[in-house]
């Protein structure tokens, strides 16, 4: 289901007033939107948990949505914040490797492109973005990422650290 930003903003305005039906519609739409948002940007088995975490954050901070502004940039900022938080939690499992078919743009419209995660990754230097994707998204070990990129293991670690730090500072960037 693709819902316009104006509709989502209206639903959120109603939800802020306590309208449960509007809130249900909003959460279902956001759940679907977030699943697409995160697809290919995190290991598949982590997407459900991340979507739920983001919905809970959205719920806890729903008062921070400005009824006079667009909805998706607000949701995207929270989604990016939770995504970076998830990347920080180190994980390493062979099943986290992504099938090629999943690594596609989740949002091909103009607004989606501006607020998407790919736009964020594009702001990183190539060396940092490459190792971040390999280690934190595709789940390679530091040694494997080092072999794949030609960067030394210590440089891979430094670049992952720098990338996460920079992503955090760019959370609201287009």
């Amino acid at each position: 289901m693709r819902t316009s930003d104006a509709n989502l903003a209206q639903l959120m305005r109603l939800a802020q007033g306590g309208d449960a039906a509007a809130y249900r519609a909003l959460l279902i739409a956001c759940q679907s939107w977030l699943a697409r948002y995160y697809r290919g940007r995190i290991a598949p088995h982590l997407i459900d948990d991340l979507v739920q975490e983001t919905l809970m954050s959205m719920h806890a901070k729903r008062a921070t949505f400005d009824p006079d502004r667009a909805f998706l940039p607000w949701l995207a900022a929270i989604a990016r914040f939770r995504w970076i938080d998830q990347l920080r939690r180190s994980y390493r499992a062979s099943e986290t490797e992504l099938p090629e078919t999943l690594a596609v743009g989740a949002h091909d419209d103009e607004v989606g492109a501006r607020i998407g995660i790919d736009r964020l990754l594009a702001l990183l230097p190539d060396g940092q973005a490459e190792v971040l994707r390999l280690v934190k998204i595709e789940g390679l070990s530091v040694a494997e990422a080092s072999a794949a990129t030609g960067q030394s293991e210590s440089l891979v670690k430094v670049n992952v650290h720098r990338a996460l730090k920079k992503l955090a500072s760019l959370c609201e960037s287009e």
């Binding site: 802020q16 306590g18 809970m56 901070k61 729903r62 008062a63 667009a70 609201e172 287009e174």
Partner: protein, 212 residues
Amino acid sequence: MNSPATIEALIADLQPVRPVRSRDGIGLLLVAAVLVSGVAAWRYGLRPDIVAGAPNPMVVLRLGTLALLGLATGLAAIASVRPAVGTLRTGWQWALAAALLFPLAALVAMAWNGATAPVALAADYGETCLRISLASAMFVGGALTVWLRQGASVRPRLTGWLTGLAAGSFGTFAYALHCPMIDIVYIGVWYSAAIAVAALAGRLIVSPLLRW
């Protein structure tokens, strides 16, 4: 996908909320700034030239700079509680750059006239400056932090820095109404030290309080 259970739980927890409004935060910040300035003026007295309505140009310059820095950083901190991709808040950086001209001018003055430094850095005045400025900053920063905690800053570190800068600026503003010194070296060193300490406290103390 087990999200439907989450959705039902969130709906069950739904209560009406009042949207967070920037104007509430701005109002709180200004009230806190006016309050600490009033208390400082009442406790320590205003400079005679301010009372006479003819303040020294240096006093006008420092008060204006501190007020602008406090406002710019405070507004940026307040705006950060409502996140949104595409939001660019850089105005505070220009205010900070302008304020940094004071310590820069102090350094230049010290480099050209080293004898100025010991007099201007008089420890008794400096200690008073730090004490009053930081006590005032603590009040402003505390009030602002309580308000910010209801928000959703996606850059809590930066918001912590900004909160400390705003609190330090308004705290130092309160002291500057009384401060008898107009020496650029004194202002550049002690005022900057007070704001820097407050900013660091904001980063170390406020930032963790803003995580969610």
